[in-house]
């Protein structure tokens, strides 16, 4: 493991030997893979100390979080709690205290597990990622970042630098629910995040994201499109369930079954819609 003295040095190493170095932050995912003998990389780049990747900053337009922001820091941030509560909920549901002290948002994104807990929240908030390399930086929407199972738009010489959350939403109601194998320290079977703004009884705008039911986290754009402009009643909710069913593709695995995930995902959509419209 090498510890570069600065962000610039880290990016140079990644540029110099593309694909050889694995960035290593809190280790809560990578060390488990190493223990199980499942890591292909043998060279690790210790980015834990890079101050440029830490810190939460705010402007009028965005809150930005450094990639090394831990779940504990997210949970304790009052602004995030007010303006982006689902991200705090997700952070609180990821492991126990020890995991939250070392797990990072950047790690959660770059590990690209479809069962990760923060991505659904990030999608709800239309997050953007700033990706850094020795060539410069680029900023992309988080939506679409994951193109397939463990495949993402992150080049070999890039690091996740910052996560930007656009501010300014008012009047939205939000909902987050992770269904795991137990109440804490659990990998999710279904992880649902939703936010909606009503105009009287009509859905004015809506975001729906769900994890663990496809090779990547899913932003359910067709379900959103169906619901926009609709009034919520038994018929529209039932129809939304049908649209949603086509946007997810859960599988059987060691933790759960495709059928369970399918049924629960649809139930959580319904719970999201009924609880927020009743508020």
């Amino acid at each position: 493991m090498q510890t570069p003295p600065s962000l610039g040095a880290a990016l140079d190493v990644l540029a110099h030997d593309p694909g050889v170095w694995r960035p290593f932050a809190g280790g809560t995912d990578l060390m488990v893979l190493l223990e199980a003998g499942k890591l292909a990389h043998r060279r690790y780049l210790n980015i834990w100390n890079l101050a440029e990747l830490r810190g939460i900053e705010s402007s009028s337009w965005h809150i930005s979080l450094g990639a090394l922001t831990t779940y504990t820091v997210v949970r304790r941030n009052a602004t995030l709690g007010r303006e982006f509560p689902l991200l705090c909920r997700a952070a609180a549901e990821t492991g126990g205290v020890a995991t939250q002290n070392r797990g990072t948002l950047g790690g959660n994104i770059a590990n690209a597990s479809p069962a990760a807990d923060t991505p659904p929240a990030l999608l709800i908030y239309d997050a953007e990622l700033e990706l850094l390399s020795s060539r410069g930086s680029r900023r992309i929407p988080y939506r679409g970042f994951h193109s397939g199972y463990k495949k993402m738009d992150l080049r070999h010489d890039e690091l996740v630098g910052r996560i930007f959350l656009p501010r300014g939403r008012t009047g939205w109601k939000s909902y987050y629910r992770k269904v795991g194998t137990r109440r804490a320290q659990a990998i999710s079977k279904v992880c649902f995040a939703g936010a909606v703004r009503f105009d009287a009884k009509i859905v004015d705008d809506i975001r729906i994201a769900i994890g663990s039911v496809a090779p990547t986290v899913v932003r359910a754009v067709q379900t959103e499109a169906y619901l926009r402009g609709k009034s919520l009643d038994a018929a529209s909710i039932a129809a939304a369930r049908e649209v949603f069913a086509k946007e997810i593709a859960p599988i059987d695995d060691i933790r759960s079954t495709a059928h369970y995930r399918h049924v629960v995902a649809l139930n959580l959509l319904e719970e999201f819609l009924t609880t927020t419209s009743a508020q």
């Binding site: 488990v32 269904v179 194998t181 137990r182 109440r183 804490a184 060691i254 079954t257 059928h259 959580l268």
Partner: protein, 746 residues
């Protein structure tokens, strides 16, 4: 007059070492020049070993390599029979069966070497279910795959069907359960032909390991020494298995001439060691329209895995407990434990009873429904009383009033009010609530003549300075052995708790008090400790060194005098069976256990119909266990046992593939965290048992019997769904709800 400390929650004897991290468990102990041992295991369930290949990338000349050929004595783990090899020689009968042992001083290289050994095995067809085993789809053990079968008969079951108003049938299943002690198995060994074999490790039964090593090495008893180190949980998982890992470490030590340490990591421990026997029970029950039991016909099958190990004894306990604390004139039980190509199943707290009690308590709720009685009313009409006989023909001599115990439990849990409230509110709630209970008993000590066969011994010694030492083979693994033995000896002698020292279970210094299992440590061995302590006192008094009434100072002086004038002061107590206890091993009838604990457990659950998740919201555990020696320790046993029972019911599913556990990581084998468990409210009743120390009986295993059925009964109350199999995950509940809906539509 000094007040007794039995009945007081004196602090744990070794508490200070545990809270400071100073207690030394096996991996904390290091010998100089020692080697790390690793085990190469079978990748498949059954086959003939053709060849063992050692990849030349490893510097094998640096390694100690042991196979079956290196075993000096008999290649078996001696227990009840000799069918289980220490190392597989020609055939393998289960995944992860040990074949080759390696040792090296570099632990990383040892692990790498383990991966570099390839075993060529010609596969043979394997069986993985009880059904396939009973059908002899393959015969994998002796002639018919049956390790043991038992029959119990009371009255005339077949004559009863005709006069029954209702006959209710049901089939129930329980899955394997992993003990999941937080400290994995580990052992350190030194061994050579001249000095013999010594092992230090995490274990429950020093003399079981002693016997096994004696056979492996062909050495006499005096050349084998087994020392128990601080043990981080056992729950039965360290009853038989330590003999295997001890033999492996000792064989490597024998061949290398160096100390060898083997520590399993969690993945190896889960995949290779014992689990609770899976079960299938069929009930057929005849009742009158008033809900009186006329006949119970019970068929009980256990899956024993590939070798016999302790399966006959697990079967025995499960069989004897299958008909519960009820007065039924006609009972037939037919049971058997069968072989499959899975790693052998073994002891886990409850030892067969959790399996048969689950079936019974689930079934009796169905029987109650069939005669339109509330579950508690049904039990009340059938509870056994003093003077009546259990299914095996044992007359109940205790003054136990199960109806009163039930009533107390129902009051404490607010059962009736909640039942009514949930029934009213559930129809309009997405979260359904329910409450259910189980009533049961658990025999303490070994079955029948088992204790007589064990012939346990415990010694107490007083030093010239008046310090009192307890010598017993009973191990401390968190349940409080050291503490209660100290309390018992202190009260027997009128001394302080601090005056008593419980000696480390080391076969070189402690007599064979039998294994630390079967809820016998307090009741049986504690009694021996009490008797031996009294023996010390009597020796002093017989010589007139001590008066009838004395203080601590006088005791110390008397010990000094005894040493000066007579010699060492040590008393031995040997188990003697209670008179009038008769057990017929052939007819399987008579006095199965010296004493029973009696209990009623009540579980309140909530079921989320959106996610099918069940939560235990509240739990009340009421039990009669004789005299409670240490209330905090006793409550701790119940709370911990209930937590394991909650896991057994709702969370702890072993996922099998071709006979191997594939969810062998803590991420995927789910035990409850602090966020998953309810308040567990424990209450004791005390009917002193004259043959127990200060009137105490056994308690350790009881909580595993009633917890799961209480929960599943509660789920039925909440949802109307009859679940017959545990563990019941949300996926299982959903499937059951789907099946019910489909049936309703059809």
């Amino acid at each position: 007059m000094r007040h007794p400390i039995i009945g007081e929650s004196v602090p744990r004897k070794e508490g200070r070492e545990k809270v400071t991290g100073k207690a030394l468990y096996t991996d904390d102990v290091t010998f100089p020049n020692s080697l790390y041992g690793v085990t190469v295991r079978s990748p498949i369930a059954r086959g003939k070993i053709r060849a063992i290949h050692f990849n030349p990338t490893i510097p094998w000349h640096e390694f100690v390599v042991v196979t079956a050929k290196d075993i000096p004595g008999k290649n078996c783990i001696a227990l009840l029979e000799d069918d289980q090899p220490c190392l597989a020689a020609d055939v393998v009968n289960h995944p992860e069966e040990p074949i080759v042992l390696l040792a090296h001083k570099d632990k990383y290289l040892a692990e790498e070497a383990r991966r570099a050994v390839r075993i060529d095995i010609d596969p043979l067809p394997a069986i993985f279910t009880m059904e396939d085993s009973l059908a002899c789809k393959e015969v994998i053990w002796r002639k018919d795959n049956i390790f043991k079968s038992l029959s119990v008969d009371k009255g005339e079951v077949d004559a009863a069907w005709a006069s029954a108003d209702k006959i209710v049938e049901g089939e129930y299943e329980t899955g394997a359960q992993e003990q999941l002690y937080i400290e994995p198995q580990g052992m350190i060994a030194t061994a050579n032909p001249s000095e013999g074999v010594t092992v230090w490790g995490s274990l429950q039964c020093p003399y079981y390991v002693h016997k096994a090593l004696s056979a492996i090495f062909g050495l006499p008893k005096e050349k084998i020494r087994v020392v128990q180190l601080e043990t981080g949980g056992g729950f039965g998982g360290k009853e038989e298995y330590p003999s295997m890992i001890a033999a492996h470490a000792a064989l490597l030590a024998w061949k290398s001439g160096k100390p060898v340490k083997i520590i399993y990591d969690r993945a190896e421990d889960m995949v290779a060691t014992t689990k609770r026997h899976p079960s299938r029970t069929r009930h057929r029950t005849a009742v009158t329209r008033d809900g009186k039991l006329l006949a119970m016909d019970i068929d009980f099958t256990l899956d024993g895995g590939a070798y016999l190990t302790l399966s006959p004894v697990v079967l025995s306990r499960g069989t004897i407990h299958a008909a519960g604390p009820y007065n039924c004139p006609n009972v037939r039980i037919r049971s058997r434990v069968v072989a499959t190509n899975m790693p052998p199943h073994g002891a886990f707290r409850g030892f067969g009873a959790p399996q048969s009690v689950f079936a019974l308590e689930r079934h009796l709720d169905q029987v109650a429904k069939a005669v339109a009685l509330a579950p508690d009313e049904f039990r009340r009409r059938n509870f056994i009383r003093k003077g009546q006989t259990l299914a095996v023909g044992q007359v109940v001599h205790e003054e136990i009033d199960m109806s009163e115990l039930l009533e107390r439990a129902l009051k404490l849990s607010d059962y009736r009010a909640k039942r009514d409230r949930f029934a009213r509110e559930n129809p309009t709630q997405t979260i359904k609530r329910g409450i259910g209970f189980a009533s049961f008993l658990h025999g303490a000590g070994f079955t029948g003549s088992g204790e007589e066969y064990l012939a346990s011994v415990a010694d107490v010694e007083a030093t010239p300075e008046g310090r009192v030492r307890v010598y017993a083979a009973s191990t401390e693994m968190g349940q409080g052995t050291n503490t209660i033995f100290s309390q018992i000896a202190a009260d027997a002698l009128g001394l302080d708790y601090a005056d008593i020292e419980v000696m480390q279970p080391d076969t070189a210094q402690v007599p064979n008090s039998g294994p630390t299992v079967a809820s016998r440590t307090c009741m049986i061995v504690g009694k021996l400790v009490e008797t031996a302590a009294i023996g010390i006192k009597e020796s002093l008094q017989r010589h007139n060194f001590l008066q009838e009434r004395y203080d601590r100072q006088a005791f110390v002086a008397a010990c000094r005098r005894y040493h000066d004038e007579v010699g060492p002061l040590r008393a031995t107590s040997r188990y003697s069976p209670p008179p009038n206890i008769h057990w017929d091993e052939h007819l399987y009838r008579g006095d199965a256990y010296g004493a029973y604990g009696w209990a009623v457990y009540v579980a309140e659950v909530s079921v989320d119909t959106a996610t099918y998740e069940t939560r235990v919201e509240d739990f009340v555990a009421v039990q009669e266990v004789g005299r409670v020696i240490n209330p905090v320790l006793a409550a701790g046993q119940v709370e911990g046992g209930v937590a394991q029972g909650i896991g057994f019911a709702l969370y702890e599913k072993v996922v099998w593939q071709e006979g191997r556990m594939i969810n062998n990581q803590m991420t995927n084998y789910i035990m409850p965290t602090s966020m998953d468990l309810p308040p567990i409210r424990v209450h004791f009743e005390e009917l002193p048992y004259t043959r127990g120390p200060a009137g105490a009986k056994g308690i350790g295993e009881l909580p595993l019997d009633g917890t799961a059925p209480a929960i599943i009964n509660a789920i039925e109350n909440a949802t109307g769904i009859c679940i017959r199999r545990i563990p019941m995950t949300p996926e299982d509940l959903m499937a059951a709800l789907d099946a019910t809906r489909e049936k309703a539509i059809a």
